[in-house]
């Protein structure tokens, strides 16, 4: 059965302090008074009621918002209004480039989106689904925000220093600032190091103890999905930080035979999708008595291609702009 899915796009302005670059010699300091634009997608269906409690999905590091499309489609089909966004200074359609990303910019982006969604839906009760590095950001936000009703994390990072060591093969956080290379590669994409690593110290992101501390103050339910073959995150550390046996509203889900990129195993991704749909619907639609609707393969594929094409046409436009810019500089130089 084909479900009528509607995708809407919004611009959310973000002028929170966390979006600044770190002032360093040779670097430009951003003027925080100029708001920057975060692109937000809302996916809904005719099952979604005006009073429906919303959920925000934040994608993993380096991933644009279309990549959580099948989860968004399944939630929307079941009556949950779903919001996704691209963080500032990140992959995707929002302002800035990934080379300038810091976790604090990620936090400011997430906070701006949660506040905006909460406001649209009359206050609190926003659900949050967060993946990988963004989950670390989510733990911090949930520990202070009053707008978030529950949190689902997938392969969520809890100990950044250790994870980055596994990813980069080097602990750059032990380097002196002047020793840092200008950029380091993540999946062969350059990330500027000065802002990224300075932010870790300035805002205390690096250690597991800080995550444990933040988790201590979280009272909303947490469901944490762990990939048992995660090459970047120590499974026992997630269990230690979440500590489900000591909290009656926390559960860990262990996905067997999955790596960090658990979505690569499409069959496991399917079980993840079903479980998260049930969890989210349980919180947002507690009175629902219908059976779970599952969007068919072909419709998910069509929706995914549609969303990828939106992202792609944005990337193409940006590239054309860059090219024009390059050419005009060359012309000036030649003349």
């Amino acid at each position: 059965m084909e479900i009528d899915l509607q995708l809407e796009e919004f611009d959310v302005q973000c002028s929170i302090e966390g979006c600044s670059y770190i002032a360093n010699e040779g670097q430009v300091e951003r003027n925080n008074s100029i708001p920057r634009t975060i692109k937000v997608w809302k996916l809904s269906s005719d099952k979604v009621l005006d009073t429906g409690k919303p959920v925000v999905i934040s994608s993993g590091f380096g991933r644009s918002m279309d990549q959580m499309g099948s989860l968004a489609a399944n939630l929307a089909a079941n009556g949950v209004p779903v919001y996704r966004y691209d963080s500032l200074d990140h992959a995707g359609m929002s302002d800035g480039n990934m080379v300038d990303f810091t976790l604090s910019t990620g936090l400011a982006s997430l906070e701006a989106v949660i506040d905006w969604v909460a406001q649209r839906h009359g206050g609190s009760d926003v659900g949050l689904v967060s993946t990988s590095l963004t989950a670390r950001i989510a733990y911090r936000l949930v520990s202070t925000s009053t707008s978030i009703a529950f949190l689902v994390t997938a392969v969520g990072v809890v100990h950044i220093r250790k994870t980055l060591l596994s990813v980069m093969g080097e602990d750059y956080s032990s380097y002196r600032e002047e020793e840092l290379p200008a950029t380091v590669d993540f999946e062969r994409q350059p990330i500027g190091t000065i802002g990224f690593y300075t932010d870790f110290f300035k805002n205390n992101w690096l250690n597991k103890e800080e995550t444990i501390e933040e988790l201590r103050t979280i009272n909303v339910p947490i469901s944490a999905f762990i990939a048992n073959g995660d090459e970047w995150i120590d499974r026992s550390e997630i269990e230690e930080v979440i500590d489900p046996s000591a909290h009656s509203n926390r559960t860990v889900f262990i996905m067997e035979d999955c790596e960090h990129n658990f979505g690569k195993n499409l069959r496991s991704a399917e079980y993840f999708l079903i479980s998260v749909t049930d969890i989210v619907c349980g919180y947002t639609l507690p009175d629902r008595d219908e059976e779970r609707i599952q969007v068919g393969f072909e419709q998910i594929l069509n929706q995914s291609i549609k969303e990828r094409r939106i992202q792609r046409s944005y990337t193409k436009k940006s590239r054309a702009k860059e090219r024009a810019h390059r050419n005009s500089i060359e012309e000036i130089c030649e003349s």
Binding site: T251, F253, I254, M255, E256, N265, L266, R267, S268, E298
Partner: protein
């Protein structure tokens, strides 16, 4: 009320762990591959005998007494369905509502094969694309630009070959150049002009005759590109209706060197698939089509369909454990060779090489007679 659990285990099926393991698919030892193949294909056989009434009846006719221990049957003795039977029969191992797509062969004459695929089968097919593309190279999504000279998913409809090619858009940023059946050759050339200036790796995914059209157009315009190592051409589907214009692979590769500026033969790869097969089989840098461990292939005598020793040419048959919604144990119309190779690309596995289609009446007749038995 359900008891709250603080820990829930989400299990993965063994075959999925293997299919979705990316480049690790190609790292199993010869013994491990054989063990996986024996287990997965035999399990799939027992499952389909159990789940597909038509196949169970057919197996019953081929093996006199179904109560014999089917679980110890040699893989080469698993009863094969002739591809023609997929045209006349509905071979279905799941409930009809679970069929996500009825896939049609692109046959030019006569009836078409109709193969029902559920989500599990389609997911696994995409897994085979992902694993197979590792034989080309490991690219992150942001590093690649694909030009699909065939139709996109919407234009492809239910035609299997075009549909499979269009799935590449789910893996990499892709632009398609067929609009309402017309090849937008000037748009493709304009895109290549742009991409020549960029740094991303370019993949052209296309049936061979459209690569030839691209070359012809470049020739007539007197334009040559110089992509160097930055371009890979992936062909699939053969020449089909355009077989009259077919040029040998070496000629096409050499034209791609001249007009697109590729530097090595390994930048030209062919992939093999047919509507009945649920796995896409890729070529490595040495031009060998490596068989993943969940598929068994045998070349067979056209006379009695007995499996031939490795290296001998015969009718190609496949037993693919990744198909969940239909029994994928078939013998087709292609003549080819199956043999194990310790390949210079670093992969050591069974390989297939397709030589030609069966043309003679006798061999066709062989397949037809089995079809009659199956119907």
């Amino acid at each position: 009320m359900e008891e709250r659990k603080d820990k829930v285990i989400i299990e993965s099926e063994e075959i999925d762990t293997i299919i979705f393991s990316g480049e690790k698919v190609w790292r199993h030892t010869k013994e491990e591959q054989e063990a996986i193949r024996e287990k997965m294909v035999r399990e799939a056989f027992l499952y389909h005998v159990d789940s597909c009434g038509e196949y169970r009846d057919y197996v019953g006719r081929k093996i006199d007494n179904l109560s014999v221990d089917l679980s110890s049957i040699a893989l080469s003795d698993i009863p094969l369905i002739p591809t023609s039977a997929y045209k006349k029969n509905t071979l279905l191992s799941v409930g009809e509502p679970d069929v996500a797509k009825w896939c049609l062969s692109s046959g030019t004459n006569g009836m078409r094969s109709r193969v029902p695929r559920d989500k599990t089968s389609l997911d696994r097919l995409i897994g085979s694309l992902d694993a197979g593309s590792e034989l080309i190279n490991h690219y992150y999504e942001h590093e690649v630009e694909v030009l699909n000279l065939g139709p996109d998913k919407y234009e492809a409809g239910d035609i299997w070959f075009s549909y499979v090619m269009s799935l590449i858009e789910t893996l990499y940023p892709t632009t398609c150049f067929i609009n309402e059946g017309t090849f937008l050759i000037d748009d493709a050339l304009a895109e290549l002009e742009l991409l020549e200036q960029e740094s991303s790796h370019v993949m052209i995914s296309s049936p061979p005759f459209l690569v030839m059209e691209l070359i012809k157009s470049l020739k007539s315009k007197g334009r040559k590109f110089n992509f160097g190592h930055r371009l890979t051409i992936i062909t699939a589907g053969g020449w089909k209706k355009r077989s009259g214009e077919a040029v040998p692979r070496d000629t096409l590769v050499s034209l791609c060197r001249d007009y697109l500026g590729i530097e090595g033969d390994d930048q030209f790869r062919d992939v093999f698939n047919q509507v009945e097969l649920n796995t896409v089989i890729f070529e490595c840098s040495e031009g060998n089509k490596h068989l993943p461990p969940w598929v068994a292939a045998f070349a067979r005598s056209p006379v009695d369909l007995q499996a031939l020793p490795e290296g001998e040419e015969g009718l190609m048959s496949f037993l693919d454990a990744s198909a969940n919604s239909y029994p994928c144990f078939y013998v087709g119309d292609d003549l080819g060779i199956v043999e194990h190779k310790d390949c210079a690309c670093g992969v050591s596995s069974k390989t297939i090489s397709i030589k030609r289609r069966v043309q003679t009446r006798d061999t066709r007749g062989c397949a037809t007679s089995i079809m009659t038995e199956a119907t």
